[in-house]
């Protein structure tokens, strides 16, 4: 399955939800998905376009645009194309449907994205802190305006 066919199939199936779809190279494509439809798009990618390998889920913070993006990198064990699927979220209430029911291994990626960016994944089976201590939840360290954790640094604890 080649990159052009995938893009055509995706935009044909979701004409409203998919935007800015483009082929970067024969093995890389990218597209924006409507945040309400992201899970449905993922389900279609997995069931119909052989995108059965979720590489990663991550967040990107754009304070100047007052936006955050969730970026899914979805690949396949059968064809060489990797899709970079992105969804735009408002920065003051970033929320998106969890894709754990579609890709099992999205679980930890979403937990990590939540605790580092504050992006809330609705209907996630267990959205608790993974890599940071629980009392740091709410600090969102990977947001661009994060300025450290001054109140509980080692110096202040002594």
């Amino acid at each position: 399955m080649d990159a052009m066919t995938i893009i055509e199939s995706l935009t044909g199936k979701f004409p409203e939800a998919i935007s800015e779809a483009e082929v970067e190279s024969p093995i890389r494509i990218r597209a924006y998905a409507d945040k309400e439809k992201a899970k449905e798009v993922c389900q279609y990618l997995k069931d119909s376009l052989q995108f059965d390998h979720l590489c990663s889920v991550c967040g990107v913070d754009y304070p100047q645009r007052n936006e955050q993006e969730v970026v899914y990198h979805i690949a396949s064990y059968d064809h060489p194309v990797v899709l970079m699927l992105k969804a735009r979220l408002p920065r003051d209430s970033p929320e998106i449907e969890s894709i754990v029911p579609v890709y099992w291994n999205a679980n930890w990626y979403e937990r990590e994205t939540y605790e580092l960016f504050g992006i809330f994944f609705k209907n996630h089976p267990n959205l608790k802190a993974l890599v940071l201590p629980e009392d740091m939840l709410g600090e969102w360290p990977l947001r661009k305006d994060y300025e450290g954790f001054p109140n509980r640094t080692a110096r202040n604890l002594v």
Binding site: H53, L54, S56, H73, Y103, N105
Partner: protein, 374 residues
Amino acid sequence: MEEMLEPNEMIVHLGPQHPMQPGPFRLNLRLKGETVMDAEVELGFIHKGIEKILENKTYLQGITIVDRICYLVALTNEECFVGCTEKLLGIEPPERAQYIRVILEELSRLQSHLLGMGEFGEFIGFVSMFMYTIKEREDILTLIDMVTGARVTHSYLKFGGVRDDLPEGFKEKALPVLNNLKKVISDYEEMFNSDRIYRERTVGVGVLTADVAKNLGVSGPPLRATGVPFDIRKNEPYLVYKDLDFKVCTETAGDCFARVQVRLNEMRESIYILEQCLDQIPNGPLFPEGTPYGRRTPVMRVPAGEVFHRVEDPRGEMGMYMISDGSDKPYRVKVRGPYYPTLQALPPLIKGTTVADVAAISGSMDGCTSEADR
């Protein structure tokens, strides 16, 4: 997990420091007798915030930081980070530099697999295995040291090439080491096949099927041990891998024995790749000519854009997603390590097994918690 406890059940915390675990993470097991009823992984004991640090360092400084993601595969991490930057810059290393990178990355794979096998032996009580493999690993590290000047964290790759050429007489020093290793790998194989206790502790233990492994997002030797020939070096060739002859090693059983067997065979393929590289390596420059890139890297601004680049790490698929805003520091780097999904797959895999098998299953994944935690 405590709330689900029945009267005849108990919880055992393995870790964060435990001799059967590769790195600090805590495995909470809910046991009924010797059977594992449920398991949960706790991470975060060595979280280093690498992704945040990379946003505050220049691209060149970033190379030394990605080394620290997992010291066993520092060179593959560098390849991924430098590869991302090169794609954004639109440059490609000349052929000699690509060959040198392949040589070092395959040596790195050999030493990582050797240590992985040795640790696995130790986890299941086969301690002498660790002594054998660590001895051979030293020879490989010495070869890497000859080229990069460091044994663990190398900072050797640079944008568009490599920092230094191979030293005089490298081939003459490398070939005897590789020939010896070939013989030693056969010895290991014979040892594994003839040892009844080893076989009983690994054959049929921790079986992953291809469908389950794919669903769990597993890659690398644990996936190839289920019969799926997924290898980035073949599926998405980078450097000069497309010109080299090697095969993707697979097994079908999907158990602990198969995972170790895949690594043994991969070491044979790595040696074959190294022999080809040492024979074929052309003369030529180490950096693309007519560009400012060279040993003395200029203060570098990278054109705005985004890229996802992946390479085959000894543990599987290592990918990085890099966004540049046109400044001298990356705007965002997401590190997608291979052990992260494999570690996530551990609880469903050990559920239903006995507590003694937990060490065998966990060890056969050849983990690096440092990489999962970043």
